[in-house]
Amino acid sequence: MSDPIRIRLYNVRFGDAILVSIPDRDEADEPLTRHVLIDVGNVLAGEAGDNDVLARVLSDVRDRVGERGVDLYVMTHEHLDHVQGMLVAARQTPPIEVPIDSVWLTASAAPDYYDRFPDARKKLDESLAIYDAIERHVAASPDEADRPLLTLLENNNPNRTKDCVDHLRLELTTEDRVHFVHRGIDTAPLHPFRETTFEILAPEEDTSDYYGRFRPMALGADATLAVTASGGVVPPSGVDTSAFYNLVERRATGAMTNALAIDKAKNNTSVVFTIRWRGNVLLFTGDAEVKSWKTMAREGVLAPVDFIKVSHHGSHNGTPEPEILDLVLPADRPVAEQPVAAVSTWLDTYNDVPHDPTLELLEERCSRVVSTVEADIAREVEIEARQ
């Protein structure tokens, strides 16, 4: 029996770092283990952030892939908890160096992307304006902002993310081996694997549609306006008091709603792809949310899998509704044929992430659900060859 495929999900606290080690062949058709590294990052706001964790993880990756290094690095989307690891490694003293052959980035990370897709440019500009306003609002009253909001802002910080993505785009390999991928692209020329095939299921190249859910920037620094014992705003004379405080509260909660909308748009640009290897189908989902799943279902690219990396850290909106989930994790599979699910997550960063009912739903359809929570350094899943 040949070696199994090994999927190693690192505990980076809140983020993703996944090393997939695949028995393959070299140019001389000799057996060889090749490696795919997916999304090394975590988010630093709150307790979940920890640069030491990333250094430890990248050291482990370096040791496991050896001198040959990583054959393919995949950045699913431009969020700090998925992108910052390689830059952190490069900045260690001494740097943690992991050789990388090819790099795939989501299509919207291409430098000329927003010139080619002006609708996406307009929506990005709008989201940046909203982000700026929320950031100003938090800066004006840092004590009032709660941790989930700070985490969202950190995760979506356009300047910090840009530095990390630039590093992935410019520093990991040579320019000709950096590819911006989307559904429909022929992946065969874009990687060195010989026996393993890859298919990109999402996103489509023009992702402007995913920006459609932004909410209004009805704020200023309004979250600070919650009435406190020391005062806060009071309604002018003659103004309906209950309506006034209702409005103040709504404007305050708008910050979180908008931050979530920005976050969601980026999540839905996640590269979702399958790895096909010796009769197995492994699905990696990044942080794709429901809208991306719906698009994939509509495009007819979803089919049953043998392994699924649970999307978006096990949130309620990273796993689709049952009728779409049926396409990848059919409910009526015999137990012996049920797939394995793995979730990279961390408790208490966001409310309801991971989402217990979602994990329960996955447990009903999978032989097991592996989680990085409480893992020392990583959890590993092995998938045997079927052919």
């Binding site: 307009k122 929506k123 709008e126 304006a129 909203i130 700026d132 306003a133 100003r136 609002h137 004006a140 009253s141 549609d209 920006y211 459609g212 859910r213 932004f214 909410r215 209004p216 920037m217 009805a218 704020l219 200023g220 620094a221 309004d222 979250a223 600070t224 306006l225 705003v233 009071v234 309604p235 002018p236 004379s237 003659g238 103004v239 309906d240 209950s242 309506a243 006034f244 209702n246 409005l247 709504r250 404007r251 909660t253 708008g254 709603t257 908008n258 979530l260 429901v290 809208k291 719906k294 309620h316 909106n317 509704e321």
Partner: protein
């Protein structure tokens, strides 16, 4: 008491281009309008300005009301760049719009907001965004600002007369027809947009200066594109469009709409028809005032004033006749035509001409829009109005006993709205006439089959004269109108679900979608009503519902 309230009658940019003075005054008088008390703010019993600072969220101090002179006034500079002026301008525009609707020759009654509270809260500088909206859940109108073309100055939507009166129009229509806020028929939301745009139009036409300058610039010919027909021109210019958001001068039809789900565009089918009627009446009046020969420019001002007042009455008075629930443009046509027939029984020109203009745009026979006077004995004789008006029990009892006459299906639960008792003013051939009406609205829900079965609300409005005789009956029951809009609702619901604008699983979705006894129940589609009409554009924060 009199109070002078300065306000902007035209976008600054448009005013500059056209050489107009954009600032006018609205004189509120206790002799003319319904009772109000004014406080620093500006604040009155039904409208209040909340000037939140967009940078730090603090609340700017209320603007003092100087009561010393014959006319009270808020202490502000006549400077559109001054935020105090912006507050007073927005306040004045909203109040002026409210008074327009409440005047005896339009609704003839005091408006009660759709939300549970006395005041509409107005936030003139809500933040940075290319948008403005009415939000029922927060009882508010919110006006945003955004950088102008050179990014050195901010464009404040609260300074746009069109946008402020349009959004106030949403709030007022929500008060008149609250079910529209939950509708699934794109035409229902299109009606909201159309009434918003018509509100802006009539608000502009109330300005003598603007009317005069417009006639000067057009030599009295108001056909074609002009300052009135272009909605929110400045906003349109700065949001990547060639010009205004929408145009009232158009030949649009429902069948010709590029996207039947785009209710902003769809609204132009209706506003185009109303504007065409205005132009026809104006031309007719102008000619008549000129003595029948060549139009005399000196008479154009009077003709336009008369035409605009007549059209204001014609197109808005019938809103109280709308059946509750889902509304089509044809339903609107029937409602305003019925209201006109009751108001001016001896002068059919408006309703006949409107049916001629509107019917081909909707692809329905003009006869389907015509008014049919209900038989005097429809309800077995005059109705006892006191009980109907004051007692819910009496009203439900009446509706239950007259399901057939009210076109209510058997065996469905009914909902009876609070009755309206109004005194309206008509200008008939014999002179001014005040008349009383009692308006009864009954609605019910049915499961409509489709890609996804859903609950849909239909209704009937019955109007009684002061003697209790039926004066008009308008229903949206498809079995009676012969018009079904199920396919339109089907497509719209699928669009909402497909774009995650509505979700049965995501509680943060803009539109509520729940499963109720095997059918989808949609609520809150009114959240899709906002100034920025780009596909997938941002929408107001979700209300707690």
């Amino acid at each position: 008491m009199k109070i002078r309230l300065p306000y902007m009658i035209q976008d600054q940019l448009t005013a500059d281009v056209k050489g107009l003075d954009p600032i006018q005054s609205f004189i509120w008088s206790s002799e003319t309008y319904q009772h109000e008390d004014f406080l620093d703010g500006p604040v009155c019993s039904r409208v209040a300005i909340l000037d939140f600072d967009e940078a730090d969220g603090s609340l700017h101090a209320p603007i003092d009301l100087d009561r010393a002179g014959a006319e009270a006034a808020y202490v502000v500079n006549q400077d559109p760049s001054d935020r105090s002026f912006q507050s007073v301008s927005a306040f004045a525009t909203v109040l002026k719009t409210l008074n327009l609707y409440e005047s005896p020759d339009v609704l003839g009654r005091r408006i009660r907001w759709a939300f549970d509270g006395p005041q509409l809260l107005v936030v003139p500088r809500a933040g940075t965004w290319k948008n403005a909206y009415y939000e029922r859940g927060s009882h508010s109108l919110q006006f945003f600002s955004f950088p102008g073309g050179d990014r050195s100055s901010m464009i404040h939507t609260s300074l746009s007369h069109d946008i402020v009166s349009h959004e106030a129009g949403h709030a007022i229509l929500d008060a008149i027809a609250p079910h529209l806020y939950d509708c699934m028929t794109p035409q229902s939301l299109g009606l909201h947009e159309a009434i918003g745009d018509l509100t802006a139009l009539f608000g502009s036409l109330e300005s003598r200066v603007l009317r005069g300058q417009l006639l000067d610039q057009t030599d009295g010919d108001i056909r074609g594109i002009n300052a009135y027909t272009q909605v929110a021109e400045e906003f349109g210019m700065y949001t990547g469009r060639d010009g205004a958001l929408r145009s009232l001068w158009n030949d649009m039809t429902l069948a010709g709409a590029d996207d039947p789900n785009d209710f902003h565009d769809l609204s132009q089918v209706l506003t185009g028809a109303v504007y065409r009627l205005l132009v026809d009446y104006y031309d007719q009046e102008w000619l008549e005032l000129s003595g029948g020969g060549r139009p005399d420019f000196r008479k154009s001002g009077q003709a336009l004033w008369q035409a605009s007042q007549a059209m204001e009455r014609f197109s808005l008075r019938g809103l109280d006749y709308l059946p509750p629930g889902e509304i089509s443009f044809a339903d609107y046509g029937r409602a305003v035509i019925a209201a006109d027939a009751v108001s001016n029984p001896d002068y059919p020109w408006f309703r006949e001409r409107f049916a001629e203009i509107l019917a081909p745009r909707l692809d329905v026979p003009a006869s389907s829009l015509a008014f049919t006077e209900p038989p005097g004995d429809l309800f077995g004789g005059p109705v006892e109005l006191d009980g109907l008006r004051t007692s819910d029990w009496h009203a439900y009892h009446f509706a239950e006993n007259h399901r057939r006459e009210l076109h209510v299906p058997d065996a469905v639960p009914i909902q009876v709205e609070p009755r309206l008792a109004v005194t309206k003013r008509a200008f008939r051939s014999g002179g001014r006439a005040d008349y009383h009406e009692t308006v009864l609205k009954v609605s019910w829900e049915e499961i409509e089959r489709g890609t996804r079965d859903r609950w849909v609300r239909f209704g009937t409005t019955a109007v009684f004269d002061e003697s209790g005789n039926p004066a008009a009956l308008v229903t949206s029951n498809p079995a009676v109108t012969g018009e079904t809009h199920a396919a339109e609702r089907d497509a719209f619901v699928e669009l909402l679900l497909d774009r995650d604008l509505a979700s049965t699983t995501d509680p943060t979705a803009d539109v509520d979608a729940t499963l109720d006894r095997g059918a989808l129940r949609i609520a809150g589609t009114g959240h899709r009503l906002h100034a920025n009409q780009a596909p997938g554009a941002p929408v107001p924060a979700r209300e707690d519902r």
